[in-house]
Structure formats: structure tokens, C-alpha cells
Symmetry: C2
Subunit: 320 residues, 2 copies
């Protein structure tokens, strides 16, 4: 039986990250409200420190290290944003960090991770098992492994974004949250239970990698090969044990969006709302648009998870 | 003797636009603070309604129309953002609007103006006089002309952005504000006098169109030909009578930035801060960077004026 994190853990996490994480703005758009016939609130985690919500969970987890853990250092595996989050949080807390990253990760993410002081170890994500590499390093050097999503402290940290959203705008009828391994989604669901108990929580993942949807509907964690999608932050192969338990309990449904829908949303965010959103960060809005007939007259939240996309890639995608 | 607007007019304007204009976020960046050795606060008017601060002044001016003016309608001439601001404000207030726009204005701005309900009349900005066209239309049809900057109600409305900034972050040592005709700059200076009297206010305009700098330093309004610069929001040919009087009284100096510096800032804003900023909106930050040796240890404000740039143009500029 897993000891699942609760809303109390999110409140504690909020205290730890206060003054370190940004309290990100909630944006609105008249055009979106008209398109959806709803009142839509975007929680802009692309404007979070290091460009994604991941800073919240990483900083919370590292803040709880004891003296021995701090001295030995942290190791993490990540396709990108978790890497930067751990590297930056570790550097702010005076802890050394080792990050295991895929060798095809966006150049901006690798550079940013190094810039934040992280030591980068590369691997081939289509052939090697990053979790095994991480565990080996942890054992050899006494490092503490902080996984990107399946960890109570990470989940609790990620839940602070939805907590801020509900505190700022009040209760919502529906909340759309993107989903890779489910850390942000499960944390958001915990906050919603406490602050807006009637809110329907929708997870959204790439159509090409719908393991979460299949897991949710079948009742058991489904493993898939690394999916081919532009949403590089949601290329995870399976949910976590903690995240799955919370998701199956507190989430209404898991939806999907395809790459073309994500590009449409990226273009909308940049041209009308003047914000840069990475493909993964568009998942929530894409799904809300697709089911707009069911949202008419409602109060709808969308979490924009991050904005870390190479500008050359960003422009190439917008031109396609 | 001109009856110059005062801070009281800004307070009144703030009351009129409350609930209509966004209270835009103030963003920070660790990278910027390190680069400048200062604490830098960005007031993000690119995240304002219709994508620029201009909404503030336009809505304030139109809110003061009497019954006859409302019934007849408003006319405005503008290279872009003022046009959208008048069209949107008029539409919100149930007033019809006619907008005189240059025939080479960015397509996004023309389309947005029409989308907000404005009737667009085009002219050749290298050959025709937009002010004369506007005055003729005003006389023929009884319309009220709201100029883009040289009007007390417009200046008072623009000053609300700096008012919000000072109220949120407290007093500053320096504030950088871009400058075309000087509406935002003079309004900002009025707010600074009241809320942060020791703050040095710097106006920043394109190097290719330094009429403001020459006017400021010579003590008389200098007229120039339409300057060739990517900062299309600052291609004005001269300061206004109201704006010049306030600027010469309350502004520390007027600085310039060239197009390459603006592109560097656009790239930085998009890649690191995840926001889309139009070239004109980069003027303030470009100047702050250039004089960073004088800002060490200080509290520095920068107003990002707008984000209305065609995405194809945005990507072309970033690639250049």
C-alpha cells in the first residue's frame, strides 16, 4: 500500500518554495472565451523559473534532503525540464547535481541544464534504460535519485501550481492538465479535491503516446515504447505508481491531442497571447478546444506547463 | 500655456480602466539580474489586452466622451497599436470607430483592427499626412479625433502602467520607457513623480529616428522624415506639444537603440522569458543593457510596451 501524498503536503511544499518559485500569472483571452463560450483561466507555468512547472517539485524534493544527502548530491534522469529544475534547485541549495539526459534532447534544454550547474550524462533513449543508469550512479556515488514524477515530494511540489490557480480565481468546473508521467496531473488533482471539489480534472497526453489513457481505462499501468511526438515533455513510457493511484481516484478522464492541434495552439499562444509555449504545454488547451461543446458557460482552467522550446524549432513548427 | 495632465488624472484613468484593462504581470529574470548586476522589473504590457499599453489611453479617452461624441463616433490615425486600441475600446463602449492606417502596416495589426470592429482607411505614410486626413474626416462626419499620443486623456491612461508597476514593486532608481510620440513616456514620468520621486526616467527611441533625443537636448520639437527601423511603433516624426512639455520637465535623458540591439532583446525575451515582444517593445531593455555599468546595485524598471508582431516577421527577425 503506497503512502500517497495529500493536500497537506502541497501546503507544506508551497511554504518551502515561497520566495524561490515565481507565483506565475493567470492569463485570460477574450478571443478564447468567445471561441469556447466559456471563462478560461490559463495558469502560465511557462513563465515559471527555468521555464516550466518542474521547478516546483524539484525544489520541494531537494529542500527536504538531510545533511548527508545534501553533501553527497542528487542525480536525476529527464528529457529536459526536470533536468533543468533539479540542476537549478540544487545550485540554489548548494547541492551538486548529475543529470542523465537523452542525447537527442533539445539543445536549449541541455545548455540550460549545464548553465544551471548540472553535470550532464547522455544516453540513447531508444536503446538504453535511463532509470537503470540513474540507479547505478546513485548506488556507486551515494547520490539521491529524484525521479521526474513518481515521488511524493515531486507530486506535492507540482500541486502548488493548481493551488495558486484556485486561490486566485476560485472554484472551477473543469481543469485541463497535460500528462507525461503524471506528476503535474496528480498534484493538480490533489489541490482540486481540497479547493474545488466539484471540478472535473482532465489529463491530456499526446495521441501518439496514450499510455496514460489506456492505463486509466484498463485499471493497470500500460507500458509503451517512447512515442514519436513533438510534445517532448510527454514522451514518457508509463505512469508512476504514485501518480497512477491518484489519477485513477481523482481524475475524470484522460484525453489526447495530436501534433497538428498542438501547433495550432502554439501559434495562437504566440500570436494572440504573446507567450512562447512548448508543444507539451499546449496539450491542455488543445483538449479544451476539442471538447468545447461540453464546456459552454463553464469556468475552465488550463495549466500551461512550460515554454522551453528552441526558437529555431519553434519557428520551424509555426511555419509547418 | 498648455493644461498638462497630472497624477490625479492618472488616478482617475485607473478607475475608468479598472475591470477593462488587464493589470499586467511584472516579470523578473535571474539571468537579467546577473547580466546587469541590478534588480530588474519588467512591466509586461505585451500581455495587455490587444497586445499593447495603448489600450489604456484609448479606453480612458473614449470613456470621457459625452453623449453626442458617443453617437457620432471616433476617428484615429495610427501605425498600428493605437488603431487596435481605439477600435477595441470603441467596440466595448458601443461607439463606432474609423481608423486611418498606413498601407504598409503589419498585416496582423490591420487584421486585428478590423477584427475589433474598426473601419480601416489606408494611406501612404511616405507621401500623405495622416493628421490632415484625420482632421478632414473628423470635420466632415462630426467624429471626435483621438490622436495616438498628444492628448491629456491618452497620456493619463498610459501613465497607469507605471502606476501599477510602482504600486507593485515600490520605488525604483531608474525606469526605461520606449518612446515614439511620447505618450507612454510622459504618462510614466507623471506616475514616477508621484510614486517614486527620485527615480530617473529614461526615454528610449530607435537610433534611426532620434527626433525625441534631439528635441530634448535642443529644447524645441524637432521634426524628421519617417525613420526606417524595425521598431514600427516608434516611427513617429515628432513629439507632441503635451508630451514634450512633460518630458523636458520630468525625464532624465533620451537614449537610443539600434535594430540589431532590438533583435537581440527579442531573442532573449522569447528564449529565456518565454514572451513575444515586438521590436518597439524591446527599446527599454536594449538601453538598460547598454548602460548597465551605471545601473549596478540599483532597482530598475523596464516597460515592455507591446507584443504585436506578425509571427512570420518575428521568426524572420530572429533568424537574421
Amino acid at each position: 500500500m503506497l503512502n500517497l501524498p495529500t493536500y497537506d503536503d502541497i501546503v507544506a511544499a508551497a511554504g518551502r518554495i515561497a520566495g524561490h518559485a515565481h507565483r506565475t500569472p493567470v492569463m485570460r483571452s477574450r478571443t478564447v472565451d468567445q471561441e469556447l463560450g466559456a471563462s478560461v483561466y490559463f495558469k502560465c507555468e511557462n513563465l515559471q523559473r527555468m521555464g516550466a512547472f518542474k521547478f516546483r517539485g524539484a525544489f520541494n524534493a531537494l529542500s527536504k534532503f538531510d545533511e548527508r544527502q545534501r553533501r553527497a548530491g542528487v542525480v536525476a534522469f529527464s528529457s529536459g525540464n526536470h533536468a533543468q529544475a533539479i540542476a537549478l534547485s540544487a545550485s540554489l541549495l548548494g547541492i551538486s547535481s548529475t543529470i542523465i539526459m537523452p542525447n537527442d534532447a533539445p539543445a536549449s534544454k541541455v545548455a540550460a541544464t549545464r548553465g544551471y550547474g548540472g553535470k550532464v550524462v547522455e544516453y540513447d533513449r531508444y536503446k538504453e534504460d535511463r532509470e537503470a543508469i540513474g540507479r547505478a550512479l546513485a548506488e556507486e556515488q551515494g547520490l539521491t535519485l529524484i525521479p521526474p514524477y513518481d515521488h511524493p515530494d515531486v507530486i506535492a511540489g507540482q500541486g502548488t501550481a493548481a493551488k495558486e490557480l484556485f486561490e486566485e480565481v476560485g472554484e472551477l468546473d473543469a481543469l485541463f492538465v497535460c500528462l507525461g508521467g503524471g506528476g503535474l496531473l496528480s498534484g493538480s488533482a490533489l489541490s482540486a479535491r481540497a479547493l474545488s471539489p466539484n471540478c472535473r480534472i482532465y489529463g491530456v497526453e499526446p495521441e501518439a503516446g496514450n499510455d496514460g489513457q489506456r492505463s486509466f481505462r484498463s485499471g493497470a499501468i500500460v507500458h509503451i515504447d517512447t512515442p514519436q511526438t513533438i510534445a517532448d515533455g510527454a514522451q514518457t513510457q508509463h505512469l508512476g505508481n504514485y501518480t497512477f493511484e491518484i489519477i485513477r481516484r481523482d481524475v475524470e478522464d484522460i484525453l489526447t491531442a495530436n501534433d497538428l492541434e498542438l501547433i495550432d495552439c502554439m501559434r495562437f499562444f504566440a500570436s494572440r497571447m504573446k507567450i512562447v509555449v512548448e508543444p507539451t504545454g499546449c496539450l491542455g488547451f488543445a483538449a479544451a478546444r476539442a471538447m468545447k461543446s461540453q464546456l459552454r458557460g463553464q469556468r475552465v482552467g488550463v495549466i500551461i506547463s512550460g515554454g522551453n522550446v528552441d526558437l529555431t524549432r519553434f519557428c520551424a513548427l509555426l511555419g509547418s
